[in-house]
Symmetry: none
């Protein structure tokens, strides 16, 4: 049993707007143990919409439509669902009266086009919309001999969400066998996706009831496990077992098993070990600071740092000797080391991280002019010992900065293990 | 003639992830005068994907698929397109060799599963992917007697976008009748959307050939104008006229009419006026630094700054006297002023910006404990005069930080007008 979501609206086919209702609807469906197999986005176009509905009725047990219930001529969802199901559409006088009262209560004139909103598909249940004028509709029908549950929902999220929660969720729950979903997530960084998959697939495949998805992006790999069972305990036990088995294989590469981001994990570990942190960022220009301070209460362990973008600021904020920059270049082992050690002394933290690198697109003038774009040095110091890493990161400016920040945080996490 | 976009990946059917590639692809297609009629999102599921491809081939002239080209067993796009077209798939030895070299150059082991990425659909052109291991494929075929242009594209946006621009856009342009799209964009910040619309709608409605869209988010309002005409000159003239009329109405509120971001505009204005900038960020923790340094060559005018998150770092990096913090609290007019003046002196820039505020969720202890979440002070100094603004920003931690950074950059922009 699975669901399809159809988002209706020509604006959702422009470069500027995106359907977001499906994320909410998917989350509620998943809670009920139903997976979404297809999402279709279609414009306010009679033939396109009717055919998209027919395709969905042929392949999905549950069909949720959002949008196209308004008063304008472009609002075609009611008509097209009726046409796809070959059911008549009629104007419901009670609904018309409710609409009239709604407009009167707001001292608004009800124009003729609003009458469309009183059109009801034969056999449909009307779903009251407390936050807008377009009511939803619910159908439980046979289509070519298959049972189909269909909801027509208003497009604005502030109307759709309460309506779906109040009217559709209980109807779906009553129609479905009892089932419960459990999820787990493992996160890793700086490892190729193919390597993670080669090591983990043989393990997670031994859990046929658990659905496993690998996601990769922004230097991070996520393994998502989910399982649907008649009871929550069974579902939890299955995802737990799969996640634990994979976690054992990947060992310390797994930085998070509870959904925490890398910056959250690093802050937690710093706190547990009674460390404080300062950073000096050159090529990342505040990216690490921004990530750490996006977490509430990060101020307990993250004391601050320098955006040491120019040579002068490296000296002024982190006491990097000017001769070091002249001799070795700003992007060098020596300057990375001096940045970390200097900012630690200046801020008085127990640990400090620094990053200096060439993010591109051009190489800088002066002593760094012969060095390649993507060359990055990271240093981590505790005041006694300073560890420096040289990296060569491929890609454009944005990617180099993201990966450099990720390398720095991961270096710190491994130091704290 | 229209297009369908199929985004492939089970993760896109969860509540956590959303297809975003289609926004970029739609924008390029629109540039070529092609509208998108359907978007389909389907999981890594052989039958579902194959049938979605067949449906698309029956209804759309151009079919763009993103995702499912990676090395894992879940990556089925090549196979399913071949199956839908009833074309054989074969392993291309040259591609395999290119992959081998790619892995060798990175000192990585090429595991067996990577070999899939060398599978080529008969008749397809291979589209080189400079930013990842999975190449794209291009097909120009007859399907049930209709010409179909099909592109298989990698899922990660950093791979998809340059590949599509370099390899697919010229191929599509060559295959399509000439039709030209012109766009203009006006950007404003810190003004309510409803106010912008009330002032601008009566103006842009007098340009019926120009499509106008208002977007609001992250403290910014964007007005997008687009027009399609047989010649570029006609299209340009129309959007130009509409954008100019609206721009005259909004005056200095418009910070950009060429698509530049606020940080780009500020950097440009600083450069033109021979200014240099330093920043001291408390509650934004590096967000302004990160935004400014995301722009290439920002180092010409942005010298660096302090992530002055703790009280100690305010003193250590920007020479804020400790007694000021004790007396007024870190979130105060006096400390904002001292931060800006201190960081300017320390870095030696001509201008300096500072931000200090309570981003929440909790209020800090000590002298700031009676102040509300959302209270933010911004200071801007040129060494002679220091301007301080007090703001009360509504919303959660993330929103407060975004709006605070935006207020600071906008204050600087207005100072430079």
């Amino acid at each position: 049993m699975f669901a399809e979501i159809i988002a209706v609206g020509s604006e959702l086919l422009t470069p500027h707007r995106q359907d977001t209702n499906s994320l909410y609807l998917t989350s509620v469906l998943n809670d009920l143990g139903v997976a979404v197999a297809f999402k279709t986005i279609v414009g306010d176009h009679r033939e396109h919409l009717t055919s998209a509905i027919q395709i969905a009725l042929n392949r999905a047990d549950i069909l949720l439509l959002s949008g196209g219930l308004g008063p304008t001529e472009d609002d075609l969802t009611r008509e097209c669902v009726a046409q796809a199901l070959r059911l008549p559409l009629y104007r419901n006088p009670e609904l018309l009266e409710t609409l009239r009262q709604r407009f009167a209560a707001r001292n608004l004139q009800m124009t003729q086009n609003n009458h469309h909103q009183a059109d009801q598909i034969q056999g449909a249940t009307i779903l009251p919309n407390r936050n807008g004028s377009a009511p939803g509709q619910w159908l439980d029908v046979l289509y070519n001999g298959h049972r189909r549950l269909i909801a027509l929902l208003p497009g604005p999220p502030l109307e759709l969400q309460p309506l779906f929660a109040a009217e559709c969720k209980p109807r779906l729950a009553a129609a479905l066998p009892p089932s419960h979903l459990a999820r787990r997530q493992l996160r890793m960084t700086l490892i190729p996706e193919s390597l993670v998959d080669a090591r983990c697939a043989p393990i997670y495949k031994t859990f046929p009831d658990v659905e496993t998805t690998i996601l990769a992006g922004n230097a991070e790999i996520q393994l998502h496990f989910s399982c649907v069972k008649p009871t929550q305990a069974e579902a939890e036990a299955q995802v737990e077992a799969a996640a634990d088995a994979v976690s054992r294989e990947m060992g310390d590469d797994v930085f998070s098993s509870g959904g925490e981001s890398l910056e959250e994990v690093v802050l937690l570990m710093l706190g547990v070990r009674h460390h404080t942190l300062a950073v000096a960022e050159s090529c990342t220009g505040g990216l690490i600071g921004k990530r750490l301070t996006s977490i509430p209460n990060s101020s307990r362990v993250f004391l601050g740092g320098a955006v040491a973008y120019s040579n002068r600021s490296k000296t002024a904020l982190a006491d990097v000797p000017a001769y070091l920059i002249d001799e070795h270049g700003a992007v060098s082992d020596a300057v990375a080391r001096a940045l970390a050690e200097g900012i630690r002394r200046r801020i008085g933290s127990s640990l400090a991280l620094s990053i200096t690198g060439i993010a591109g697109p051009a190489t800088p003038r002066g002593p760094d002019s012969q060095k390649p774009v993507g060359l990055v040095y990271i240093a981590l110091t505790d005041g006694k010992e300073t560890q420096v890493k040289e990296l060569n990161i491929r890609g454009d400016r944005e990617r180099i900065r993201i990966w450099a920040a990720q390398h720095a945080l991961e270096t710190l996490r491994r130091r704290l293990l």
